[in-house]
């Protein structure tokens, strides 16, 4: 794996604590404090998790006529990692048209992950026609009809949010007041030194408003997150790797496993981007996130599909 990292488009987020001092790390080249070594909520074991996004099962246009095939290649890549992720986070748009057979295919393919456990949030393509009914009947069946939720793993507090239901004309989508109130309550009892990972489909930062690439009420989320020393926000939707750092909050958007989209404003619309043969695998892939105790480093590696022999 390591020999491939240099040619991958890598986002590296490194932070470390040692002794009792506040230790600084680099996120996207920007120094930031992560917390203190005395933090007793520190992760108690090294672990890794993986993010996949925008599988768009059912899409079959020229940008990628075989999205199930590229997803399978991503799954094979993750399954071949020497350290298996503790779980997989899927940041939405499992399907392209919310059809039952697309959700069924997702359930079937995701079963091929060796990691087994998965956590989902919905994308707007998972909410067509019958709302989230198909999502909750399919891959999201373990969520008991909760579009947003949280859980703790290895001392990290994970929060899954839904910003794909509340759409208003001419505006970016929103989380809505009910979800914001829930988030406020969910975070209220946590120590400021608890590492937080938030995941949602649409970026929680404004990437490009003319294309709706942002969340209208994300500012409210940031208000509740600012007090934490380490916050990582993961999203999909825009089908490309981008990042932004705001204080202690680092935002990262991920590649799709299905098809790329243009850079913000680089085309007349954000539609699927057809790229030359052999290039597609460079623009699709998964993300590996490592949480390491002791030196408390957090590293992200965006892993394009291995293309040298297969595209």
């Amino acid at each position: 794996m390591s020999e491939n990292i240099s040619r991958r488009r890598a986002l590296t987020c490194l932070g470390a604590w040692s002794g009792a001092a506040v230790v600084w790390g680099l996120v996207g080249g920007v120094p930031r404090a992560f917390g203190t070594a005395a933090d007793r909520r520190a992760p108690n074991a090294r672990f890794t998790f993986t993010q996949i996004s925008d599988t768009h099962l059912g899409f079959n246009k020229e940008a990628n006529p075989d999205v199930a095939g590229t997803l399978r290649r991503c799954i094979a890549d993750v399954n071949s990692l020497p350290q298996q992720p503790a779980f997989i986070i899927h940041t939405g748009d499992i399907t392209h048209l919310s059809k039952p057979e697309e959700f069924d295919l997702g359930t079937q393919l995701f079963g091929e992950f060796r990691a087994g456990r998965m956590h989902f949030v919905p994308g707007e393509h998972d909410a067509l026609d019958r709302g989230l009914e198909g999502y909750f009947a399919g891959p999201g069946s373990g969520l008991e009809h909760r579009a947003w939720y949280s859980f703790d793993d290895h001392g990290v507090h994970f929060v899954g949010l839904s910003n794909v239901i509340d759409f208003k004309a001419g505006s970016m989508p929103a989380l809505g007041t009910e979800q914001l109130q829930w988030l406020r309550n969910d975070l209220a009892g946590l120590s400021a030194s608890t590492p937080i990972v938030v995941f949602a489909h649409i970026p929680l930062w404004t990437v490009y408003e003319p294309w709706g690439w942002g969340t209208a009420d994300a500012g409210e989320v940031l208000k509740w997150l600012r007090r934490f020393g380490s916050v990582t926000v993961l999203n999909g939707h825009i089908h490309q790797v981008m990042q932004k750092v705001e204080g202690h909050v680092a935002f990262h958007s991920a590649m799709s496993t299905a098809y790329p989209q243009p850079a913000p404003g680089a085309a007349d619309s954000p539609g699927p981007l057809k790229v030359p043969a052999g290039k597609l695998g460079e623009l699709l892939g998964t993300r590996q996130i490592n949480v390491v105790p002791g030196n408390r480093s957090l590293a992200m590696i965006d892993r394009p599909i291995q293309t040298e022999d297969r595209s």
């Binding site: 392209h96 919310s98 709706g212």
Partner: protein, 110 residues
């Protein structure tokens, strides 16, 4: 009826954004490059609008005013709706809310 009069009438209708459908034929709005074309249109009551998706991704048509909630429209899919009553009806794509349109439905006065 003079040719000049007919041309003047057609010019006036075009300025007002009027679209007149032939019997049993809908007025077509295309969805192309994440835009409705035309995005503003004036029709008479009883006219059917047909949206056709020319994009490589899915869109839909949502209007609370007209009580429209189309299914997701994949490439080349069509969705029709007849506007019975006068009014101004805004709509959007529920997946891409920056895509907006408006349909004015009113009786022709002249």
């Amino acid at each position: 009826m003079s040719r000049a009069w007919i041309l003047r009438c057609l010019f006036t209708m075009a300025l007002a954004g009027w679209h007149t459908a032939r019997a049993n034929e809908p007025v077509v709005i295309t969805i192309d490059r994440f835009q409705f074309a035309p995005d503003e249109i004036t029709i008479e009551p009883g006219t059917t609008i047909e949206w056709i998706n020319r994009d490589q991704t899915v869109h839909n048509i949502v209007s609370s005013q007209a009580k429209i909630a189309s299914p997701g429209l994949d490439t080349a899919d069509r969705f029709s709706f007849m506007f019975d009553h006068p009014g101004d009806f805004t709509y959007l794509c529920g997946l891409h809310p920056h895509m907006k349109g408006i349909i004015h439905v009113k009786e022709r006065t002249s």
